[in-house]
Amino acid sequence: MSVSTPTDIAEVKERNRALIQEVLSVYPEKTAKRRAKHLNVHEEGKSDCGVKSNIKSIPGVMTIRGCAYAGSKGVVWGPIKDMIHISHGPVGCGQYSWAARRNYYIGTTGIDTFVTMQFTSDFQEKDIVFGGDKKLAKLIDEIQELFPLNKGISVQSECPIGLIGDDIEAVSKAKSKEYGGKTIVPVRCEGFRGVSQSLGHHIANDAIRDWVFDKNEGKELAFEPSPYDVAIIGDYNIGGDAWSSRILLEEMGLRVIAQWSGDGTIAELEATPKAKLNVLHCYRSMNYISRHMEEKYGVPWVEYNFFGPSKIEESLRKIASYFDEKIQAGAEAVIAKYKALTDAVIAKYKPRLEGKKVMLYVGGLRPRHVIGAYEDLGMEVVGTGYEFGHNDDYQRTAQHYVKDGTLIYDDVTGYEFEKFVEKVQPDLVGSGIKEKYVFQKMGVPFRQMHSWDYSGPYHGYDGFAIFARDMDMAINSPVWKFTPTPWKQEGEFLAIAAE
């Protein structure tokens, strides 16, 4: 494969533009026209990345996206640990998403917590024909009997529910009444709604507003409020991310009254409107409820980024700016406390990673949020894109994160991603399980950036050390030098071997 390694930015841009034209040439004309709007080379100074987003995926192209159910059950609701989340419909959706997202939590599973379990109504043909409302009602009774310590139930709709006209709201209301006002939340997150996971997040956020907040108005807090109460919003505690974030907030003097939704409980959700500030990590999946709490309860919210020391430092100061001098001093103390650790991490790993190029393709906040962590290690992100981002994500990306000439790909197809990586030849690709083995076969080091490749946490200072270690072990593994078959190499290899 002949690959040019462009050195100046003009060459990079030119190569990337040519690359986009090259991948578009494979499509039928109509498709090429549609896909062209999702691919771009970033121009410095522009307010967004110059791509269209949050638009329907094109049939047959191998989109990497998921569905609204995945956004609601898999992301927002699933981690709430003391509730039972019913995958309502056929067996598959719940099965494939069962315990797959590594939302860590503490509790006795099956007794007072239920995250890594798969509850389903396992629809059969008769449920499709006659409707599933009676089954749902009965199923809720069975949950109450077998899992008496559950603190609430959510009904996560799969595709058929909305198509056959079931009234899950009526069932939920009736059952809630029967069980003394128990929280039972119907969620209309059928997989065909919207264009990706994203609408599922929104629907799930709205369900919290309508079926948790509204129901609890006027209810007393179980604890004394303090002036330093904050809630962590949009951290799913993958590999313990929310914990390695919480510890920093507490160390600077804040009190974390709720985690949304990793290791979270219904009591924490209910208490959140009483927070003094909502700190929002995954803007994409939980900006809706943050805005709602601001409008209705007057709780301000602030976005933060806990990947890598530069962004952590910036974020701690930004969060502290909402509070008094005590907290601001606390933030400085936290930054100082961890300085030795981050210096040591950078001293150890930067020499091994400096100058390495990374291509990302992830969801939520990560296509931009992790860029700073790579840069702290001397690495460069040369391509990035969102599975289900909106224009406000691309604005944030353009204004705060990516460099001039970065290749941008929205809702990338399997074909495009493969070609981009083949030509750009990054030292590392960060994406998901479906992509992992494609690139490893090509001899390109890879880390899963949804599940942290079963490692983590990556958030916070403790997480940064793990992040650095993992990127190093991916890129500098001895295995990659063995991918070419030695006797199949042309002159170059033999010449080296002969030296």
Binding site: K138, P160, K434
Partner: protein
């Protein structure tokens, strides 16, 4: 500060440090509004009782931790087993993301599959345009030799007609008229992934044998001496298919593997990504109509496919995921009979080595009680082998097993003194199994990765055999079939038994008199 740059602590150790345990205890105490510890303990103990089991078995509407997936997964499994074939699932796109992830987590391999990405408008107007555009895009981008279409429940609920849609798409020029687009309706609310395997396999054969949806003449069978082989939905397809091919080659049998995904799910890392690799050629799939006979390794995966093949004049034979001496004997002898070949001494020697290994080791298994769960055929094969080893199955559970399977299992238990008292549980899930493990108290559990939750809760050691296996690597590369496969299965069972022995005898000066160096 718990983190240490010299020995970076990740989630395994980090959160066990005092800073984190204190922080999380405070979170629990102040904000979680949790139940009192005594109440949690009371319910934990209650959930182990006969009373709880009775309540649990009274469930009619709720399914908890089922050991089955949905039909389209099986259809994707079939499609990737044909040369240059891409599975195309008509319906919502999230489903395809799930199938691809599920297979990749098991095989640690890429799984290529496309969706017609139907959304709300398609729910109202039908998915015809999605089919037309989708086939055209897939054909242009991924240059397949065949596109195998199946459906998600969304397309099934709104009643999309694949035959008509594909025909229209061809008329609109999405793919050439003569391009092969077999299809199968695979509603997720009927059966399970094994039903999907059956429907999709039948769909492919029907396409090639019965006139490609009325576009060409039906094939006229001209019998030859070949044997067709159907593996069924099998997590060990990579190792098993290769082992079966080796056995057939040893026996000098002429054969066609229908749906051979042993290469596409085991491609090399050599700098090139192979979207397609190996697989049954389309020519072989068509010519398979002329075979003398078809063997299915999994009866319940081929309930429609085998009668379809039989109706074309072939003899058909079904096994139940044969594992062990007797089951492999039967398999090998049937193959010899059907193909008219003699069994080579090499296989007799392999058999003797397996018997030798079992004779060496069976004392560690004899009399041990086993609970087994999985797909219906796998359950049968495993239960038969366990009894052959002198083990006693006490609970055999299959979420996607039915009444016929239950009867068949009972006949198997009745055939051996080691099966006395064993019961088959069709249609039950792993929450039922949890109750059974508490009340029936088997020594070991055999099942897939999800069994680790049962191991944690009940203390019954898990022997990982099944699908999916997410948390151990490369097991799918080792066959369970053939004498060699039975040997692998024996070693898998033995290893866990020995590990358990060591783990329960290793307390110095208390139990370590039994911590033997020779076992």
């Amino acid at each position: 500060m718990p983190q240490d740059v010299e020995k970076v602590k990740d989630h395994f150790e980090l959160f066990r440090g005092e800073e984190y345990t204190t922080m999380l205890a405070n979170k629990r105490e102040q904000f979680e509004n949790t139940h009192p510890a005594a109440e949690i303990e009371r319910v934990t103990q209650w959930a182990k009782t006969e009373e709880y089991k009775d309540l649990n078995f009274k469930r009619e509407a709720l399914t908890i931790n089922p050991a089955k997936a949905c039909q389209p997964l099986g259809a994707v499994f079939v499609a990737v087993g044909f040369e240059g074939t891409i599975p195309f699932v008509h319906g919502s796109q999230g489903c395809v993301a799930y199938y691809r992830s599920h297979f990749s987590r098991h095989f640690k391999e890429p799984t290529s599959c496309v969706s017609s990405s139907m959304t709300e408008d398609a729910a109202v107007f039908g998915g015809l345009n999605n089919m037309i555009d989708g086939l055209a895009n897939t054909y242009s981008m991924y240059k397949p030799k065949m596109i195998a279409v199946s459906t998600t429940c969304m397309a099934e609920v709104i009643g999309d007609d694949l035959n008509a849609f594909i025909k229209t798409a061809k008329e609109k020029g999405s793919v050439p008229e003569e391009f092969d687009v077999p299809f199968a309706h695979t509603p997720a609310f009927v059966g399970s992934h094994i039903t999907g395997y059956d429907n999709a396999m039948k769909g492919v054969l029907e396409h090639f044998w019965d006139g490609k949806a009325k576009t060409v003449d039906k094939l006229v069978r001209v019998p030859n001496g070949k044997i067709n082989f159907l593996g069924g939905f099998d997590g060990y397809t990579v190792g098993n298919t290769r082992e079966v091919k080796r056995i057939f080659d040893l026996m000098k049998v002429e054969y066609t593997i229908l749906g051979d995904n042993s290469d596409v799910w085991d491609t090399p890392t050599d700098g090139e990504f192979r979207m397609y690799d190996g697989g049954t050629t389309l020519e072989d799939a068509a010519n398979a109509v002329h075979a003398k006979a078809t063997i299915s390794m999994q009866e319940y995966c081929t309930e429609k496919t085998l009668p379809f093949i039989a109706a074309h004049g072939q003899e058909t034979v079904a096994f139940n995921h044969p594992i062990g001496i007797e089951a492999t004997d039967k398999f090998v002898m049937e193959v010899a009979r059907l193909a008219g070949v003699t069994i080579p001494d090499a296989l007799a020697k392999e058999r003797g080595r397996l018997v030798d290994a079992i004779a060496d080791s069976n004392a560690h298994i004899h009399g041990k009680k086993f609970a087994i769960y999985g797909d219906p055929d796998l359950c049968y094969g495993l239960a038969q082998f366990v009894m052959e080893l002198g083990g006693e199955p006490v609970v055999v559970l299959s979420t996607n097993g039915g009444k016929a399977w239950e009867k068949k299992m009972q006949a198997l238990f009745d055939s051996s003194p080691f099966g006395v008292g064993c019961k088959a549980y069709p249609g039950k899930d792993l929450w039922h199994m949890r109750s059974l493990l508490f009340t029936e108290k088997p020594d070991f559990l055999i099942g897939n990765t999800y069994g680790k939750f049962l191991e944690r809760d009940t203390g019954v050691p898990l022997i990982r055999i099944g699908f999916p296996i997410f948390d151990r690597h490369h097991k799918h590369r080792y066959p369970l079939w053939g004498y060699q496969g039975a040997l692998n299965t024996l070693v898998t069972i033995l290893d866990r038994i020995f590990e358990h022995m060591d783990a329960t005898t290793n307390v110095a000066s208390k139990t370590d008199y039994s911590y033997d160096i020779i076992r």
